[in-house]
Symmetry: C2
Subunit: 603 residues, 2 copies
């Protein structure tokens, strides 16, 4: 079987770089230790080898289809989801008394990484079911929890998030799905939802939709939105299912992730569709966002994992494919020599190192973000608030960087295959198609960028950024102990100054009330900031590796640690300099993207 990820790198990131063991001292996580986490990861890997990776290509070649009112799915999916339930993978982060195993998010995300590297289609079904069960768990009354959570966590019923509507897209304040109060306290739901991932398929016997809708008479905008649990089938006392008029009317045929169902649902058009309000009336969007941070990190992890798998495939190919000769110092080539492996060509090595820098950097920031999520959960007082701020700040970055740069990574992996990269018989084209959705899912890159600059950076007078700076300083302080790393500390500090300069230019616009100008280059700011945050990850990784080398740590081979330091240097040479270009763009005061009444720039 092809190598689709690196267990050593994952474990090293968890244990050495991000010290996941810090979490095990908290009461909530006291049953976990390094060995038990190792076993969990190995179990995930074995199952992925057996069930996930072997059907990855089949799921693309036989995509989900809408046939006779049903959405087809891979025949193995039902077995896999059932086992996911039996083995406790769904809802593993929940409390023991809710059927979970109180697994830290950091560990759960590491296992997700393994699943997603093997097959980026299947884990979405598990993640969305867990995410919607989490909303019921958090906001639902006991009766709803008892009714839905066990079946969902068992992998028998699927869960979904129903936000998007045809006329509104990303603009959630414009959704029109309605909820009409009934005498018994329930609501009649009516409306359409599109792009519902996992919204219907043959592998689950029922679906539990978490639906945003407006109660009749609710105000316009987001304040009028409430959250409802709407099952496809209502379960009677005897366990029988009665159709609740949630109709699937089509499957979106997609360019990638073709084995992951994306459906169009119509609620209550041909008969009554019953939903139950959860949480507070008018707080639906806020409640949904409880789940959204996790979903965004999931998307980032899926992107990172898809690109990780593509990287390992292209690495393997480069190690096996002979072509051309190394350039001699004379500039000539000797045709009588045998061909060299393409991994020996500098440009191929560049494309491999670029992938490695992007995918391992992505994985690292995702694990760090997950750890802040755990610490925000278990800590108290100021510390809790601080971790929450860090989580909020890093979430849009941890979603966006892997989604955007993961595309670039895979693009380079495809290029390494030459013409074969474009052929359906080779795997890279599937990764290339699959990852393209990640910068659209759960808030596009544009929306993440507005969130980063417009909300997260400005919140509490920039408190989150200050906390991040403290984290970075911890790393640069430690790195400065090593002569070899000092130049990179200086370069990182310089890049941080660029971010500060950008903010020094942008924030006064917000203060002056010129919000449109302030946010016009939010995407450039995202690009700059995420570049620096990944540089911080790489310096952190290099510092840990250097420490292991210096102390003679033999957990991994010396060349393993050296390769991490090498990749850090690659990142600082080839990626980090882009920060200064983006700074020049941001500081340029030509306002070219803001609509002006008298200028038509698209003639």
């Amino acid at each position: 079987m092809a190598k689709y990820m690196c267990m050593d790198t994952l474990k090293w990131l968890l244990n050495d770089v991000h010290s996941v063991e810090d979490l095990f001292k908290y009461e909530r996580y006291q049953d976990y230790d390094k060995d038990s986490v190792d076993i969990l990861l190995d179990t995930a890997k074995t199952w992925s080898d057996q069930e996930f990776y072997p059907i990855f290509r089949e799921m693309d070649e036989n995509p989900c289809k809408f046939v006779d009112g049903e959405i087809t799915s891979h025949p193995n999916l039902k077995r896999i989801l059932k086992k996911a339930g039996e083995d406790g993978w769904i809802g593993n982060i929940f409390d023991y008394d809710e059927g979970g195993s109180q697994m830290p998010h950091t560990v759960a995300n590491a296992t997700n990484h393994i699943f997603q590297c093997a097959n980026n289609h299947i884990p979405g079904y598990m993640g969305l079911t867990a995410g919607s069960a989490d909303l019921i768990r958090t906001f639902g009354v006991q009766e709803l929890k008892d009714k839905y959570m066990p079946k969902m966590m068992a992998g028998e019923w699927g869960g979904t998030m129903c936000l998007t509507e045809p006329q509104a897209g990303s603009s959630l304040s414009d959704i029109t799905t309605s909820a009409t109060p009934q005498a018994d306290g329930s609501f009649k739901i009516s409306g359409q939802k599109i792009f519902i991932s996992g919204g219907d398929h043959q592998a689950a016997s029922n679906f539990v939709h978490l639906v945003l809708a407006r109660i009749d008479g609710a105000p316009a905008g987001t304040k009028g939105i409430s959250l409802f649990v709407v099952p496809k089938h209502m379960e009677g006392e005897d366990g029988s299912l009665t159709y609740n008029n949630v109709e699937t009317i089509s499957e979106f045929e997609k360019m990638g992730q073709r084995g992951y169902a994306t459906v169009h649902l119509v609620f209550g058009e041909k008969g009554d569709c019953v939903g139950h309000l959860i949480g507070q009336e008018g707080k639906g969007l806020k409640h949904m966002f409880k789940m959204m941070n996790g979903a965004r990190i999931d998307v980032g992890m899926t992107a990172a994992s898809t690109a990780m798998a593509a990287y390992h495939h292209s690495l393997q190919y480069a190690k096996e494919r002979p072509q051309g000769r190394k350039i001699e110092n004379s500039g000539k080539k000797d045709p009588n020599q045998g061909q060299t492996l393409i991994i020996n060509h500098p440009d191929v090595r560049r494309m491999l190192l670029l992938q490695k820098a992007i995918v391992e950097g992505s994985l690292s920031i995702l694990l760090e973000t997950a750890k802040y999520s755990d610490l925000a959960h278990v800590e108290e007082g100021d510390a809790k608030d601080e971790y929450h701020l860090l989580l909020e700040l890093l979430t849009p970055i941890a979603k966006t960087y892997p989604s955007e740069k993961g595309q670039e990574a895979i693009n380079n992996g495809l290029q390494i295959y030459g013409g074969y990269g474009f052929c359906m018989d080779f795997p890279l084209q599937q990764y290339y198609r699959d990852i393209r959705i990640m910068s659209l899912y759960e808030g596009t890159t544009g929306i993440q960028s507005l969130d980063l600059l417009g909300r997260k950076v400005t919140a509490q007078n920039g408190a989150a950024l200050q906390l991040l700076m403290k984290k970075i300083t911890e790393v640069t302080d430690e790195a400065s102990n090593h002569e070899e790393l000092k130049p990179y500390v200086a370069q990182l500090n310089k890049s941080l100054e660029s971010v500060q300069r950008a903010l020094g230019y942008l924030l006064p616009m917000a203060m002056k009330g010129d919000y449109e100008s302030f946010l016009a280059d939010a995407t450039a700011f995202m690009s700059m900031t995420s570049n620096v945050v990944i540089a911080y990850q790489w310096l952190k990784m290099a510092t840990s590796a250097k420490h292991s080398l210096v102390t003679g740590d033999t957990t991994y081979q010396a060349k393993f640690y050296e390769s991490k330091i090498h990749t850090m240097k690659f990142y600082f040479k080839y990626e980090l300099p882009q920060v200064r270009a983006i700074l020049a763009t941001i500081l340029n005061d030509d306002e070219l993207t803001i609509l002006k009444e008298d200028v038509d720039v698209f003639v």
Copy 2:
């Protein structure tokens, strides 16, 4: 019908920016004038509307397939190719007495742009047939010309280039297809060729393959390669066709350009396969490269055109799709207001302007390169040599920039559609898949970059670059007459200094004989240089537009000219600053991509 290109922009580039009329004073082109070119372009557009665009999506949805030994093709293709022949589109650049119409490449490429914007699959069949007919025309004896050229130019027989073999890929010195001399002066051809575009399909009754092969006993390497004409069927005196044992054994199923056949051919395995040597023995690769410059420009134009079509589709979508609200200065949104069109959001405008800057900049450099090709053809003495040097220098850039940045443009176009961009019912995903092959066709980006830095820049002590500098200076001199453009002149000059600094750092390595280090960052050098060359195109366009505004030229509306100046400014704000980042990368003396014996960086 959707707008898939802009005729005004094309005509403006031809007439105003690149003064195609300069060519008409040469005897060869004396039958052309502005009006006749206009009519040609309009004819191409009408035909594209009628025949090319309507089947673009069908050709993707019903891809070429290998069935019962044949490659299926779209049912309209035969009619289209026949009309292409009848109307003189194939081989239009040839002399009158060879059946051509002595059309300037510049004009022919402009018509190709129209065809390719409408449908990037079909023009490849026409272009390759013309290109291989051109090789027969140039190197073949009269008998071969008489036998093949008329049928090829009539669109009845297809022509191909057969270079790549399974074991050699880009490394042409390793091809093994053999040619065994026969008593009658012909050769028996034996071997396999892969990735043969247009190599077989139902729309042509015969195929004329231009095949690189080694005559028995030829030396290893490129010096042992000769060029052969190898028809699929031999034509008898009576016009009957006899199978020549060129067997199609499969079609490569591809991610994009699925309606454009790409086949695997086996020569002479089941019976004798006869070929005729053209040109000199051992000069096959050199001869093939006669065609290669043109083919590379064709690929660049196909990339530019694919991205142009995607741009116009996403522009149209942005003008029609309401979503969200403009940001008020308060930072708040009023949900009671109607939604705004997405073209009014700055980030959407940024994505549109980025596309416009890339695709129109690409089209401009491609027309300029084609013009140098024409001038090299008709000029004499030093002038001819100079235009040839410019053509050689710009060809790898004109191939690579549209192929690489065109992907980025389409990626942004797709993003504008939101989730719909990822759906097969919308057009952007097809453009996204189609364009991905362009940076692999006819020499990958890595190979183009080695060509640019290793050959074109260094040739004749940098003479080509000096000539280009002269051309750029002509533009900056003229731009400096306009106060509005002066800051951009300064910025362009600064970027040119960056290129010079990069060369000042790299060239001494070549002189010291350290070729591997010299070329290790050739791709970064390509990226930097092409960025500056496109900035030069934009300044040239802006200067022309400014001139028209100042002189009150009413050929186009004032807002048309203003939009070009605006896009130039966008390019200089958002794209050109990247040059300084790439310079930092190149000047960084960490050698991280060159294989070192004792370092394993891919653990």
